[in-house]
């Protein structure tokens, strides 16, 4: 039996999902399984499996009916379907990251926020939208925990960030 994702290798892992009175099968090769974090120790295992079932399901439907079923979601900008995106792990346009936000997060990004370099013009948005709210939350909890040294440090940092915003 071939792997449901790559359709190339022989499947070595067989998973059955039961939902109400519906069951579906998933057959994966070792490579595809490892790539998608299918591992007993992965705390997100259930979530990961659920996403793959849905993605593979929509692929199967597209193939079998020839015509796209009504519930298949397409990116409004580039027209790629979730199934196609998951199969090649390749998005079609920047809009895909909005359209398939939940699925991409569940399968690949796992709530990780990118902290690296971005264009200079966007740094200011990052301070306003991400860094300041984050610092405020940490400040609040430091005050609640009566950790005054930390609170003072955070206050200074917040002031610096606000100063940077004003200068813009």
């Amino acid at each position: 039996m071939k792997c449901d994702i790559c359709k190339k290798n022989d499947a070595v892992i067989h998973i059955k999902q039961t939902r109400g009175n519906q069951t579906s099968d998933l057959n994966l090769c070792a490579e595809c399984a490892a790539e998608r974090g299918i591992d007993q120790k992965n705390p997100q295992l259930e979530k990961v499996l659920d996403t793959i079932f849905r993605a593979v399901g929509s692929m199967k439907e597209t193939v079998s009916s020839g015509e796209a079923p009504a519930q298949t979601v397409y990116c409004p900008r580039c027209g790629i379907s979730l199934g196609q995106l998951m199969k090649k792990e390749t998005a079609g346009c920047p809009q895909c990251y909005v359209t398939f936000e939940k699925e991409l997060n569940d399968s690949f990004f796992h709530d990780k926020i990118y902290k690296g370099r971005i264009p200079e013009a966007m740094e200011i948005c990052r301070i306003a939208v991400q860094e300041l709210p984050d610092l405020e939350i940490r400040l609040k909890s430091a005050v609640e925990n009566e950790n005054y040294a930390e609170a003072q440090r955070l206050k200074t940092e917040i002031e610096h960030k606000k100063e940077a915003l004003r200068q813009e």
């Binding site: 900008r77 580039c78 027209g79 790629i80 792990e89 390749t90 998005a91 079609g92 346009c93 920047p94 990251y97 991409l104 690949f108 990004f109 796992h110 990780k112 926020i113 990118y114 902290k115 690296g116 370099r117 971005i118 264009p119 200079e120 013009a121 966007m122 948005c125 990052r126 939208v129 991400q130």
Partner: protein
């Protein structure tokens, strides 16, 4: 500037042949290349060309591929500054910057790719050069970026920092032992891809040369990725150097004999193909590493590219002073004779 990283340059020239690094970007308002139709590609290339014209002249010299000779184009490609499949005609726009030795090209794996190739393994310096150019480009191109994911690219491994690094490594000692499985274990744990290097000219694997590459992990910053990459490279180089110590137990004589054979071959050959030359180079490298020959490793690394036809063509006038048709095989034989068996003025040529 935030990239003012102290360059912790460690020489790995006994192992690293060259380092290539790429930044990937896409633009808002355009699909990713794999989904682009012909009309949109044209629109994209038109916009790119028009915007590049706005880039201030100065330390930055632009060469466009359609105005380049074939020789020049293949020279950049053989150096690794362009992807092997990069069509000369299909994607006509291509720019080369003198100062940083970088290329900027379009509609390959992502909309925009900025690439730099260096003979030294100094990833932080390469990254600094790339970022420096990128900071100028971001002023003329509307990059697709999200605060959450970073730079938005088609493949998830390039989304985020949008950075890729690759080194070509020669590991003669590890190659002779069955350390392959240990290397693969490191690779799997550290998100590295290790594979035999396929020479685009020969279209086959070159004996003993590996390509080790990586992209940023989910959420990883450029600096974190560079630290991981150079840390792992350090581990691999250490493993190789440790294995080389075993050569003293009986191997040295064998290596010396092979080196003598290689010298004989250089001396007697009127012609050498690229594959034969590579074979000789790796023998010389082993001899140098085993301490039975005395040539700089940097020369051997440099010859790796220099023996290719595109390089020989580019520098032909410096050897022959004429523009007669090139006899590549005999030129290679000459060159190796000059370098390893005597007169070495050729060494001063820098690319």
């Amino acid at each position: 500037m935030d990239m003012m990283h102290d360059s912790n340059f460690i020489s790995y020239s006994d192992c690293v042949i060259r380092l290539r690094m790429s930044l990937f970007r896409n633009c808002t308002g355009y699909l990713f290349p794999s989904r682009m139709q012909a009309a949109e590609s044209r629109r994209f290339l038109g916009a790119v060309t028009e915007r590049m014209d706005r880039l201030p002249e100065g330390e930055w010299t632009l060469h466009r591929s359609e105005k380049m000779s074939d020789d020049e184009f293949f020279y950049y490609r053989d150096r690794g500054l362009l992807p092997d499949d990069y069509g000369r005609m299909t994607v006509p726009v291509f720019f080369y910057t003198d100062k940083n030795g970088a290329t900027l090209f379009f509609l390959n794996r992502e909309g925009i790719e900025l690439r730099i190739v260096s003979s030294e393994f100094d990833p932080f310096r390469s990254l600094e050069s790339l970022s420096d150019i990128d900071r100028r480009l971001e002023k003329i191109f509307p990059y697709a970026v999200s605060l959450r994911y970073g730079y938005l690219n088609s493949h998830r491994t390039r989304t985020g920092a949008g950075l890729e690094a690759e080194v070509l490594l020669s590991l003669p000692a590890l190659n002779q032992t069955d350390e392959g499985s240990r290397l693969l274990k490191i690779a799997a744990a550290e998100n590295l891809k290790i594979e035999p290097y396929i020479c685009p000219v020969l279209k086959e694997a070159v004996c003993g040369i590996l390509s080790v590459s990586t992209t940023a992990l989910n959420g990883e910053t450029e600096e974190e990725m560079m630290n991981r990459f150079s840390g792992n490279l350090g581990t691999i180089v250490k493993m190789e150097r440790l294995k080389r110590r075993d050569w003293h137990n009986g191997m040295t004589e064998q290596i010396r004999a092979r080196y003598r054979d290689a010298l004989d071959r250089i001396n007697l050959s009127m012609k050498l193909t690229l594959a034969e030359s590579y074979d000789i180079l790796e023998t010389v490298r082993m001899a140098v590493l085993a301490g039975v020959a005395d040539h700089p490793c940097s020369t051997i690394n440099w010859l790796f590219d220099f023996l290719k036809e595109s390089y020989l063509t580019r520098f032909r006038n410096r050897f022959t002073g004429s523009s007669e048709p090139m006899m590549y095989d005999s030129l290679r034989a000459h060159l190796l004779k000059d370098i390893f068996c005597g007169k070495a003025e050729v060494l001063c040529i820098k690319d």
